[in-house]
């Protein structure tokens, strides 16, 4: 079953054709990696899918419904959650509170209910907190619940951001360079986490430069170069694809 289907997507920034007629599909329950040289249009493609920017033409279908041109908060409420290449945690809030914000779309309490502290919000708040703690437990950062999120070590901030996205209970998790800035050990841990997340049934689409990580965890890999798709295949086939090697991976003895 296809969860995400992108057809003939285009985006221009002035004279730059950042995403040029890209089509691909993400089947339910896989980890799909998006790789390519710097400036290939990976993050732009990501932003087009999540709604941060609107495409010039083409379509994005999520779970069968068209989502191109929707705002990020709308795609989020449909079941897409994302992390950012440069960590975007909420400062002056604890790690747990950051993750609790991720539960937003599953809550109901509005301004009036919040101001009056209506009884139904008590249970809702408790559920939000419990779910947040459960996610921190799953990610192995439960002991950091009350620490100010932005004061945590860099690697842990990445995990908190991942937790915040998981708190949305997304069907599709978009990870923009989840291993950026992590050391080798942390990268391996991150890879394990992403695999475990996939095993809970969440489909993952990630942009990543760490080829060891990509080759280890991905079920499928999409390669972009200068805004165009040059390959879309299994990891082993990608490693042997001559065009990908010439454009991106490089020869062993080069």
């Amino acid at each position: 079953m296809t969860l995400l289907s992108v057809k003939d997507l285009n985006k221009r920034f002035g004279g730059l054709h950042a995403v040029n007629g890209v089509s691909f599909e993400v089947p339910q329950g896989v980890i799909k990696a998006l790789i390519g040289p710097n400036g290939a249009g990976k993050t732009t493609l990501f932003n087009l899918i999540s709604g941060t920017i609107a495409p010039d033409s083409g379509s994005v279908h999520f779970g069968g419904a068209p989502v191109q041109g929707l705002r990020p908060y709308q795609t989020a409420s449909l079941g897409m959650a994302r992390t950012f290449q440069h960590i975007r945690l909420f400062p002056k809030m604890t790690a747990l509170e950051n993750i609790m914000v991720g539960r937003h779309i599953h809550g109901k309490a509005g301004f009036i209910a919040g101001m009056l502290n209506l009884p139904f919000t008590w249970r809702e708040e408790k559920n939000i907190r419990d779910k947040g703690l459960e996610i921190m437990d799953f990610l192995g950062i439960a002991d950091q619940a009350d620490a100010e999120a932005t004061s945590l070590a860099y690697g842990q901030q990445r995990v908190v951001e991942l937790g915040r996205a998981l708190a949305c209970e997304p069907r599709l998790l978009l990870l923009d360079e989840p291993a950026a800035g992590l050391n080798m050990r942390e990268t391996v841990e991150m890879g394990k986490l992403i695999t475990r997340i996939r095993d809970t049934g969440i489909t993952v689409l990630l942009v990543e430069h760490d080829m060891t990580l990509v080759m280890n965890i991905s079920d499928e890999i999409l390669v972009l170069s200068y805004g165009q798709k040059i390959a879309d295949d299994k990891p082993l086939a990608i490693q042997k694809n001559s065009e990908v090697i010439r454009n991106y991976l490089g020869e062993d003895d080069a």
Binding site: S50, T52, R71, P72, Y73, A76, S77, A81, R82, F84, R88, L89, F90, P91, K92, M93, E97, N98, M100, V101, G102, H104, I105, G107, A109, G110, F111, A113, G114, M115, L116, N117, T121, E124, E125, I128, T150, S151, R164, C168
Partner: protein, 357 residues
Amino acid sequence: MKARYMQVLLFVLSIIAIQLATTLTDSAYHLTQLTMTAYYTILILGLCMLVGYAGQLSLGHAGFFAIGGYMSAFLTTHDLSPYKAQASVALLADWGVLTSRPDLYGGSLLTVNPWAACIAAVCLTIVVAYIIGGPVLKLKGHYLAMATLGFGIIVYRIALASSSLGAADGISDVPPFRLLPGVEITGSSSARVMNYYVAWGGVTLGMVLLLNLIHSRVGRALSSIHGAEDAADAMGIPTARYKLKAFVLTAVLASVAGVMLTHYNGGIGPSEASVMKSVRYVAIVAVGGMANLWGALIMSLLLNFLSLRGCFGVYDDAVFGGILIIIMLFVPDGLLRRKVFSDIKGLFSRNTPGEET
């Protein structure tokens, strides 16, 4: 019981203690300034939520205060008796929207009653806040500050230029506002103690509502918009709608405060709409620690009271401008922030505070 309600209880006890202290020291005349301070505090608490928690700076909230005050002052003093024969006026009278009362010269006035005027004022504020807030809240940082400043200037100039609003003199002879039988907002000295409690009761109510709000799902969402708007958006929070709602909510608080102070003072003048008032409110929120409702309340109580007692003399506005400069330069997080104790400890240790990040 939650800690925040214990704080509210402590606050209520302090309010009672202050009143008793003025009785014991035979200085009940202080209650007048304390009552006026309370109404400014309601506005400031709202502004604190908007600026400190939601991160949306407004230099136009004196404008909303003035809209509330002027609207209720105009409606409760505008004599409709010449139009008694008209169907619309007769209909309003039938609905109980109008009341007649004797005027100064023994004649009779037919005016809108204060409750109806208050509701009208709040409705007008909501409409204006939506119209202004919608486009303006797309701006960020100092662009937002400039745009709201523009709004404040417009309200001020309208108040100053409209002869129907009394131009530079403002509107006077505003009647008392009977909230409940036996409870009315009035400046008469016999009702001074009651009005003190009515006003600070209003502050307490506003405080409880806002404390609840910042500890709720919406409060978290507003803080997240403050911290990283794009990430909040990506978490499914409709950021534009939330900012607008917070803006309108605080405009309504400002407007209600304006209505009540106008009835208490028996009038309103254009200085209530002036930009310096807005600057003063923001300065108080800043000294209070931005995202700190109790800090804003304490600083509002202190500074507004001193200002109303005339302690700053002719330098009144200059003092608040100076406070803003000093706070922004030396303690941008405000004097009364949550970490104040660790900072004091920091003064005595070798590590410079703020270097831990």
